[in-house]
Symmetry: C2
Subunit: 416 residues, 2 copies
């Protein structure tokens, strides 16, 4: 195979994670090892930046800045939720690639983003423009099919686990058999994050909070929920329930949307819905709702070292694969078979990413429908291990900002 010389471009897409920048750092660090990669560019705000020819020179950043990306949340290059549809937009992307001799394209994102990357690659092939496209996975929701788990998930679960433990300790101090804490976590399609909250229980303490966990993979019933809450309040001073935002009933309808027609569903999501339900039906119960929100994907001060390291690793692996001639692949994480957790990278077809959604295996949920069994623990426990050493300045975590030196534009402005 002939060596392909040219420039590389990195983009970030979709919701950030605590470790999406660690993958950028992995790409940049590995690119330095390969002389066939001449310039290392970043796209500002993903596809939006490519369309606008808003590229920055990542090789001009200091090594401290690249190192700092390992523990910096957000998307240092900017991100977007833009889904390219018009053929003219794909043509424009390729024109920008040609104008800047982009021969390696690394796109960090999940389903739709990788679909876009695959289409760009197909168009390049059609036009006889040699381009290697490698997708890099990221998702706190952990629902990409081809990979054992997604970078970003471990840190999100570590944050959720620590927060649930802290909220529970507070509730334990205040409850007298009457206090219910509803913790609403992300996960519109899959229950990986809600299930991850189970790690807040101490080993061999199944009655520890969170007492109840509801995932979208198990049909939700108001009556069973109320029975569960009553049972826990009888046993404990307080009840902690963790709910995925995407809970559905036995007919597959979102639970929070059941109350549509009132203001409640627009405002509050499933947490507020359940608060109303409990306060209306369980005499004397007080409900606190904690909607963890964006902090789940941004709390890098509580990142899992395992997750950070793997996010860096998939960035490195993407470069190595591309330099070795691979294209149209997603880098995956492949777990070893041994008792001790090990993980290496693999490759999977990029075209399959968009359509392959991985849900929590229902057999990992206990028969009670509200707790996880040993299979989930075996899966998730290794992913939250290790603490990161975020530097603190003046008492707060000091995160890195890129200098963002612009690459000169050579094309006429994009007409969107």
């Amino acid at each position: 195979m002939a060596e392909l010389s040219g420039n590389c471009l990195i983009g970030q897409s979709g919701g950030p994670t605590a470790v999406i920048n660690a993958s950028v750092a992995g790409v940049v660090a590995e690119a330095l090892n390969h002389s066939c990669i001449e310039e290392v560019y970043g796209a500002l705000s993903g596809m939006q930046g490519i369309l606008n020819e808003d590229l920055i020179d990542l090789a001009a950043e200091s090594q401290q800045a690249i190192r700092g990306l390992r523990f910096t949340p957000g998307a240092a290059l900017g991100s977007c939720r833009l889904k390219l549809k018009k053929p003219a937009d794909f043509e424009r992307v390729l024109a920008v690639f040609k104008a800047h001799n982009i021969r390696y394209f690394f796109y960090i994102g999940d389903h739709d983003s990788q679909d876009t990357a695959a289409r760009i690659s197909a168009l390049a092939r059609e036009q006889g423009y040699e381009l290697r496209v490698i997708g890099i996975p990221k998702s706190i929701e952990n629902d990409l099919g081809a990979t054992d788990h997604c970078p970003g998930y471990g840190s999100a679960v570590k944050y959720i686990g620590a927060t649930v433990r802290e909220l529970a300790v507070d509730a334990d101090a205040m409850g007298q058999g009457d206090l219910v804490t509803v913790v609403e976590v992300m996960g519109r399609n899959a229950g990986w994050l809600a299930a991850g909250a189970t790690l807040a229980k101490r080993r061999d303490h199944p009655n520890d909070p969170p007492h109840l966990i509801y995932v979208p993979e198990v049909a939700f019933s108001n009556d069973k929920f109320l029975d569960d809450v009553r049972r826990i309040l009888k046993r404990e001073k307080h009840c902690v329930a963790v709910v995925g935002e995407g809970l559905v009933d036995k007919d597959g309808n979102y639970v929070a949307v059941e109350s549509s027609g009132t203001d409640a569903s627009q405002l509050g999501g499933v947490g507020e819905y359940l608060k109303d339900l409990v306060e209306g039906q369980v005499a004397g119960a007080k409900v606190r709702v904690a909607r963890l929100g964006v902090a789940q994907r941004a709390a890098a001060h509580l990142g899992a070292k395992t997750d950070v390291d793997e996010a860096f690793l998939v960035g490195q692996a993407a470069v190595r694969a591309a330099v070795n001639g691979e294209t149209d692949k997603l880098v995956t994480l492949v777990r070893g078979d041994g008792e001790q957790y090990t993980c290496e990278t693999g490759l999977s077809a990029l075209a399959d990413v968009a359509t392959s959604i991985k849900r929590l295996p229902p057999e990992w949920v206990n028969e009670d429908g509200v707790s996880m069994n040993f299979q989930f623990y075996r899966y998730a426990t290794p992913l939250i291990q290790g603490e990161v050493s975020v530097p603190y300045v003046d008492g707060l975590p000091a995160y890195t900002r890129l200098h963002r030196e612009s690459v000169d534009k050579t094309l006429p402005a994009h007409e969107g």
Copy 2:
């Protein structure tokens, strides 16, 4: 002064803080130094536990457990929001004290709790029962009058500052001049917590997020708020506004309650109110609400070492004061006059605590009404310094639970 021999009792009251248990550790550690203190008891759930004669033997706890209290959130003894009113209840408290030869009573709490402690002391004096009562301050809201600041405040601000910084980095990655993040923090009467969010700005970067801070001490106006948001969205890719839950308009009415009659005010508080306002009035704007909730007082993994150390110190100081013959006093924190931050403890009259509410000095807010000046920075910056070394087990912070060995009851059950 004759030495007073007998047992001591510690209670916790009101909402927990990240460091309220550090004060318990300080009392227990110091009590060991004084032979006149014979037994060291804890009251389960504050006054509720005293009424019920639910006492535990803190001297039976391991030293590791007492050490662990330094960084454990919640209230390890349990807390309550019970406000004693009936004379019979005060009589009952004193009967329990007499039954267990309690001669030293240390109560950790804020306004109402210290008022209760003062009344118990007065009743004891009336009945000729020698008792020394010392209050220990705690409040994340920082609104106790006699003390420079309250244990619990520094850690809450550290959590708020780090979280605002992380939410802002995420929003910066996603915003295109259209994204507004409203962060709702606690503080029903005073703006100390909201103001504290300003520490998320880097030194000498006044345009850093949070771009807008609204405190209850400055009258809130919808029109000015909308103008502020529009101005920031024009200048930045996104806007972060931090709001205290207790915002009031120029007539002194709570802002969120302005929308009463609709479901919104019941459900959402001021954050949801402002979301509706912005989305209704600012074309194209999208609003994310982050209501930080109980995590503000429970996120001990992000505790400020300065705060933890001072919380321990006020516990120690309470014991020393009582042994030296003081009673009816609140331990206070007294800041040194020098350039370098120093802090020692003082004593203040317990009877004054309930009526003395400290608000943010309006002259610490800049003329724009949405940012803090150097006086606030000088005040707050030292309070969030230093990181705690919380032990991690299996990837999550490992908090301490007390063994809670019960003290035998000697009285008939309380008839509440």
